[in-house]
Amino acid sequence: MKKLLAALTMAALSAAIFTASADNLKDREAIMKGLGKAAFGTLGTIVKGDAPFDAAVVNAALADIDANAKKVDVTVHFPAGSTGESASPKIWENLPDFTAKMDQLKADAAAAVAANPQDIDALKSQFGTLMNSCGGCHELYRVKKG
């Protein structure tokens, strides 16, 4: 009986872990999509000159990037082996480096908000730094499967 109870508890626990990690993957994708939309959609369009510079729009997008970056918790959103759609197994081979790169993004996003850019040149400088964070991490840790 005790054994059965233990087995049931184990099963319930692993089901809970499984569901949690599936939700975490969804959260992870939502965070990444949010980062991309604000950075490459809103800010990228302005940097390329396809939309006019508007300090309010720019700073709202930066705040959005900062909020999404802060949400990322590597242990929660990138549990070992959770390759999902496009995460590379190299993440868990070089976990300290991956975590450091995420921390760098958080620092860059917070700095961009603090910089409070008021013209296109100020934005370009912050944008370049953020872009390096995105590209530098995607270079090593994202793969295309589709």
Binding site: K33, A39, F40, E85, S86, G135, H138, R142, K145
Partner: protein, 313 residues
């Protein structure tokens, strides 16, 4: 009877051996043609350097800014045939290629042959560089000569038998090393022609974006349709206008993605394409637009790799 068989076998063996030897003999450029290229132009050579992406493999991984001009090698290129280590191609006299003449450089770039007369592995994309104009090679060499000397030899390739026998690459070249354009494009505009030169030549896009057969030869019928990533996980994207490719990208979006890495669906390019963008950010917009024009003009193909498992979406 046995004697006759033995003689026949001997003759067959000798003919076969001779044929192998002749077919696998390294072929060099005509020195008279190479001499006609004349002295190169350093400034133009720098542009060729960025189009060709030399730094992506020959600068140490993770190099930034001026470090990317330190061409001591270091990148490990994994493949189904083994691991290739990009060599030192800095101007160092002993560890690099500082002692080379232009003819040596041209033969390496366009025939995949070393000054000692050995074949290079096609991990070095001479199959693409062979399509370049000699004048561009000459400009590139002029620029190379301005780059720093860096000490240090890269480790040798790690290849199992029989891939470790360089002479056998003569067989690979006989089968797959075709000079001339990858595609015939009817009524190509000047922009498309320029794009074709850049993509098929210095840009060497087809080296990754065209899948390979079991012998490592490009599947020319699937030109730029992508394929499984030879380095392991994932796929190399289809960059034709076929389904699964970049059919939704406008020419303007392709042109800008090559310099800022931003995709039309608000993502950033990843993998080794990050290096390509770092290089192509130095290339003038007109050339990037020409690449876009070419990609719009070539046959639209479905993905050169299998659909992802149903569970992925």
């Amino acid at each position: 009877m046995i004697k006759k068989l033995a003689i026949a076998a001997f003759i067959l063996g000798a003919v076969g051996g001779l044929l192998f030897w002749v077919l696998t003999e390294p072929q060099r450029l005509d020195p008279a043609e190479v001499a006609k290229a004349g002295d190169g132009d350093v400034a133009r050579g720098e542009l060729v350097f960025w189009q060709g992406g030399c730094a992506a493999c020959h600068a140490a991984p993770g190099s930034k800014d001026d470090e990317r001009l330190q061409l001591a090698g270091g990148l490990v290129l994994k493949s189904p045939f083994g691991n290739f280590h990009a060599p030192n191609i800095s101007m160092d006299l002993e560890d690099g290629i500082g002692a080379w003449g232009f003819i040596d450089f041209a033969n390496a770039m366009q025939r995949g042959v070393s000054p000692e007369g050995e074949h290079y592995y096609p991990a070095f994309p001479y199959s693409s560089y062979a399509r370049m104009n000699l004048s561009d090679i000459s400009d590139l060499w002029a620029y190379f000569k301005t780059l720093p000397e860096v000490k240090g030899k890269a480790p040798g390739h790690e290849l199992p038998f029989p891939f470790n026998i360089r002479r056998s690459l003569g067989g690979w070249k006989f089968l797959f090393f075709k000079q001339g354009p990858a595609l015939e494009i009817a009524n190509a505009s000047d922009a498309v022609k320029r794009g074709q030169y850049l993509v098929e030549g210095p840009g060497h896009c087809g080296e990754c974006h065209t899948g390979r057969n079991l012998l490592g030869g490009p599947k020319m019928g699937q030109w730029l349709a992508g394929g499984p990533n030879p380095e392991g996980e994932g796929n190399i994207p289809n960059i034709t206008m076929g389904e699964g490719g970049i059919e939704k990208w406008s020419e303007k979006e392709i042109t800008s993605a090559l310099s800022d890495g931003i995709t039309p669906d608000f993502d950033s390019l990843g993998g080794s394409m990050v290096q390509v963008v770092r290089n192509w950010a130095h290339v003038p917009e007109g050339d990037r637009a020409a690449v876009a024009a070419y990609l719009k003009a070539i046959p639209a193909l479905p993905n050169g790799y299998p659909a992802p498992a149903a569970a992925a979406k």
